[in-house]
Amino acid sequence: MAGAPARVDVRKTYKLFIGGAFPRSESGRSYPVTDAEDGFLANAALASRKDARDAVVSARKAFGGWSGATAYNRGQVVYRVAELLEGRRGQFVDEVARSEGLSAAAAEALVEVAVDRLVWYAGWADKVAQVVGGTNPVAGPYFDFSLPEPTGVVAIVAPQRSSLLGLLSVLAPVIVTGNTCVLLASEPRPLPAVTLSEVLATSDVPAGVVNVLTGRVQEVAGWLASHMDVNAIDLTGVTDADLARDLEVAAADNLKRVRRAPLDGEPDWTDAPGLDRLTWALETKTVWHPIGV
C-alpha cells in the first residue's frame, strides 16, 4: 500500500490524572491539540465540571497525609520526580519541541532547566520553615514561635506558553511545601502536562497530591475558583483580563488566596526564581506557651 509506513506506531491516549488514576473525561469529550504549525498532535480530554470536582475531592483526601509527611520525605519524593524526568528526557524534548514549535536543541535546554528547577525546589522542602519561620522575642514569659504550613488544596491554572518549564515552575513550589493541587494544563499545549502526570504516577508522589486536568480555561477555571473546598488559586495561566477578574470575584466566596496573572505576560521561566512562589501558598502559624516552673 502506497504511503503506509512499514510499521504503524502505537499512539498514546492523553487522559486526565485524578487521584492517581487516568480517567477520560466523564463527559466523554475531547479536543484536538495541534502543534505550532496547526498540525494534529492528539486528542486531549476536555475536562468537565464533574472532573474538576473529582480532582478537588482527591486533592483534599491526599492533603492530610502529604502535609503530614516529613519535610525530608517530601523533598525526596520531589527529587525522585526529577530523577524520572531526567530518564524520560527524550520524550519530553520531543513533546515540548512539537508543542512549543521549538528546535530539538532549544527544547532540550528547557527540559534541562525544568529538571534542575525540580531539584532546586526539592531541596527547599526541609529548609523553608527555617528560612521563613522562627522564634519571636515577645515581651513576656512566653515561648513563641511561628512556622509555615501549607494552605491546603491549591488550584493552578498553568502557564499557557511554557508547557513544561513554566508548568513545573508553578507546580513544584506548591507541592514541595505540603499543599496538594489541581492543575489545569496549558489549553493549547497540554501534552507535556499529561506526560508529566505519567511520571508522577510512577514516582513516589502519593495519589491525589497532583491532579491534572486538560480542557478549556474559560470553562474549568471558574469551577475551581468557586469551589468551596479549594483554599488558593494561581491565575498565572489566565490571559483574559475579564476572566481573571471574574475568577478573583468567585474566589472571594471563601477567601481563597489568589495569585494574580503576571501583568506583563508570561515571565522568562529560565530566570532563577526567588522565594515568592515558594511562599505564596503558605500560612503562618504562631504558637504561644508560658515559661515557668
Binding site: 528560612v131 521563613v132 522562627g134 519571636n136 522575642p137 515577645v138 515581651a139 513576656g140 512566653y142 513563641d144 511561628s146 494552605t151 483554599n231 483580563a241 475579564d242 481573571a244 477578574r245 471574574d246 478573583e248 470575584v249 474566589a251 472571594a252 466566596d253 471563601n254 477567601l255 488566596r257 489568589v258 494574580r260 501583568l263 526564581p273 526567588g274 522565594l275 515568592d276 500560612e283 503562618t284 502559624k285 504562631t286 504558637v287 504561644w288 506557651h289 508560658p290
Partner: protein
C-alpha cells in the same frame, strides 16, 4: 461571697475633647468637602462625646492625593534610618500621652480602663517602637536585598481595639516606606484623632498619615479609590469578602484580618484553675469584642462538671460596669447595634435548645450592657457554635478523644485562633500541629505582641500582622 469594692474611677479630666473634629489630611485638620457629621457617644452612658466628620468621596480623593504626594516626594525617598526616627518619636509620644489615650479609649469604646491602660495603649506604643527598628533593616527582613514599598495604603480598622489596630496598621506601613489613609470605625474615632495630633507633634511630614473618620461608605470609597495601592482591613468576614470582590481585577495588594470562632480546648489533665482563668480571659476580655476570642469552649467530658462549676463561680466574681473604674472587669458593649446583635444571637441560642446562664449582676441603667453569659448543651449545628457573636457569650461543647477535639475545633470556616489546655507537652504540640488556625495559645489565651505574627487561616482572612511577617503586607519583594 464576693467582696465589695469602693468605686475607683479614673479621672477623665486629663482628656480635653473638642466639641467637633474635622479630617486630618496633608498634615492638618481640615473641613470636609460636602461631608456630614455624626456623634460619637460613650457606650457606657450614651453621653455625646464629640461631633465627628463623615468624610465624603471628595475627602477620600483629597487624602489619597496628599498621601501620594507624600509618598513620592518625601517618605519613600527618605533613608530608612530617618523614617525610623519618626516612628520612634511617635512611639515615645504615645507613651507620654498614655494616660490620656487610655481614658479616651475607655470613654469612647466602653472597654475597662484596666485593659486600655495595660493592653491597648502600651501595645500600641510597642508596635511603633518595634517597627521603627525595621525601617532601616528592610533588606534583612527576608524579602530580597532591596524590597520596595507598595505606595499608598488604604486602611480600615474596627472599633474593638481602636488605637491598637491603628498601630498594627500604620507602624509596619510607614516602616516599609508607604504612606497611609486610615479610616477608624464610626463608633470609635477619637483616639485616631488624638493620634493625628501626635503625628503633628512629632512633625511627621505632611500627608504621610491621613485620618478620615466616617462609616461604611467612606471605607468603600477609600478601598476602591484607583490610586490606592494597598488595602488593609480588619473587620467582619462579610465585609472582607466584599473588599476582595471589589478589588478583583485591580493590581491592589490586600490583607484581611477577619472574624473567628476560636475553639478553646480543655483536656482532663489541664491545670483547671489556670484553665478557668484562660477561659474567662479568652471570652470576656474586652467584652468578647475580640476576633480571636475563645468563644467555643471544648471540654473533655470527664472534667466537664468540674470545669463548669469553677467557671460559673469565677464568672460570678466578674465586675461589670463603669469602664473608667479601675476595678471593672467587663465594660460596656460598644454600640446599641452590637448589643442588639448579641441579644439576637443569644435568643437564637435559647430557641435552638441550649441552656443559658449568667451570674446575677447589676447592670447600669443607661448605656449598652450585656452580662457575661455561658451556654451549655450546645451542639455543633447551633448558630451560637458557628457564628461570631462578638460579645461576652461563651458556647460550651464536649469531646472525648483528642481526635474528636481536633475535628470539632476545625469544624468552622474560620481559622484565626485556638487554645489548648493540658499539662502534657507532647499533646500540646500534637494539637498545635493539627489545629487549622493562625495563632495557637497553649496554656494561655489572648496574648499579643508586636514581634508575634497574627492572622488567620481560611475565612479568617489572609496576611499577617506583627513581627517580620507583618512587613510582607507592605513590601514588594525584590527577588520575585
Amino acid at each position: 461571697m464576693p467582696f465589695d469594692y469602693a468605686p475607683a474611677p479614673e479621672s477623665r479630666a486629663i482628656v480635653d475633647l473638642d466639641s467637633s473634629y474635622g479630617l486630618f489630611i496633608g498634615g492638618e485638620f481640615v473641613e470636609s468637602e460636602g461631608g456630614r457629621t455624626f456623634k460619637s457617644v460613650s457606650p457606657a452612658t450614651e453621653e455625646v462625646l464629640a461631633e465627628v466628620t463623615e468624610a465624603s468621596a471628595d475627602d477620600v480623593d483629597r487624602a489619597v492625593k496628599a498621601a501620594r504626594r507624600a509618598f513620592t516626594e518625601t517618605w519613600a525617598p527618605m533613608p530608612g534610618a530617618e523614617r525610623a526616627k519618626y516612628l520612634f518619636r511617635i512611639a515615645r509620644m504615645v507613651q507620654e500621652r498614655s494616660r490620656e489615650l487610655a481614658v479616651l479609649e475607655s470613654l469612647d469604646n466602653g472597654k475597662p480602663i484596666r485593659e486600655s491602660r495595660d493592653v491597648d495603649v502600651p501595645q500600641a506604643a510597642a508596635n511603633f517602637f518595634y517597627y521603627a527598628g525595621w525601617a532601616d533593616k528592610l533588606g534583612h527582613a527576608g524579602y530580597g536585598n532591596d524590597p520596595q514599598p507598595l505606595g499608598v495604603a488604604g486602611q480600615v480598622i474596627p472599633w474593638n481595639f481602636p488605637l491598637l489596630m491603628l498601630a498594627w496598621k500604620i507602624a509596619p506601613a510607614l516602616a516599609g516606606g508607604n504612606t497611609v489613609v486610615l479610616k477608624p470605625a464610626e463608633t470609635t474615632s477619637l483616639t485616631a484623632l488624638a493620634f493625628a495630633d501626635i503625628c503633628r507633634q512629632a512633625e511627621l511630614p505632611a500627608g504621610v498619615v491621613n485620618i478620615l473618620t466616617g462609616a461604611g461608605e467612606t471605607g468603600r470609597a477609600l478601598v476602591e479609590h484607583p490610586d490606592v495601592d494597598k488595602v488593609a482591613f480588619t473587620g467582619s468576614t462579610e465585609v472582607g469578602k466584599a473588599i476582595a470582590r471589589g478589588i478583583a481585577g485591580s493590581r491592589k495588594s490586600v490583607t484581611l484580618e477577619l472574624g473567628g470562632k476560636a475553639a478553646n480546648v480543655v483536656f482532663d489533665d489541664a491545670p483547671l484553675d489556670q484553665a478557668v482563668e484562660g477561659i474567662v480571659n479568652g471570652i470576656f476580655f474586652n467584652q468578647g469584642h475580640v476576633c480571636c476570642a475563645g468563644s467555643r469552649l471544648l471540654v473533655q467530658e470527664s472534667v466537664y462538671d468540674e470545669v463548669l462549676s469553677r467557671l460559673k463561680r469565677r464568672m460570678a466574681t466578674l465586675r461589670v460596669g463603669d469602664p473608667l473604674d479601675k476595678n471593672t472587669d467587663v465594660g460596656a458593649i460598644n454600640s446599641a447595634e452590637q448589643l442588639a446583635k448579641i441579644r439576637e444571637l443569644s435568643a437564637v441560642g435559647e430557641s435552638e435548645g441550649a441552656q443559658r446562664w449568667a451570674p446575677s449582676c447589676q447592670l447600669p441603667e443607661r448605656g449598652y450592657w450585656f452580662p457575661p453569659t455561658v451556654f451549655t448543651g450546645v451542639s455543633q449545628a447551633h448558630r451560637i457554635a458557628r457564628e461570631e457573636i462578638f460579645g461576652p457569650v461563651l458556647s460550651v461543647l464536649t469531646f472525648r478523644t483528642p481526635a474528636e477535639a481536633v475535628e470539632k475545633a476545625n469544624n468552622t470556616p474560620y481559622g484565626l485562633s485556638a487554645g489548648v489546655w493540658t499539662e502534657k507537652g507532647s499533646r500540646i504540640l500534637w494539637m498545635a500541629d493539627r489545629l487549622r488556625a493562625g495563632v495557637v495559645w497553649a496554656n494561655t489565651f489572648n496574648r499579643f505582641d508586636p514581634a508575634s505574627p497574627f492572622g488567620g487561616y481560611k475565612e479568617s482572612g489572609y496576611g499577617r500582622e506583627g513581627g517580620r511577617h507583618g512587613l510582607a503586607a507592605y513590601l514588594r519583594r525584590s527577588d520575585r
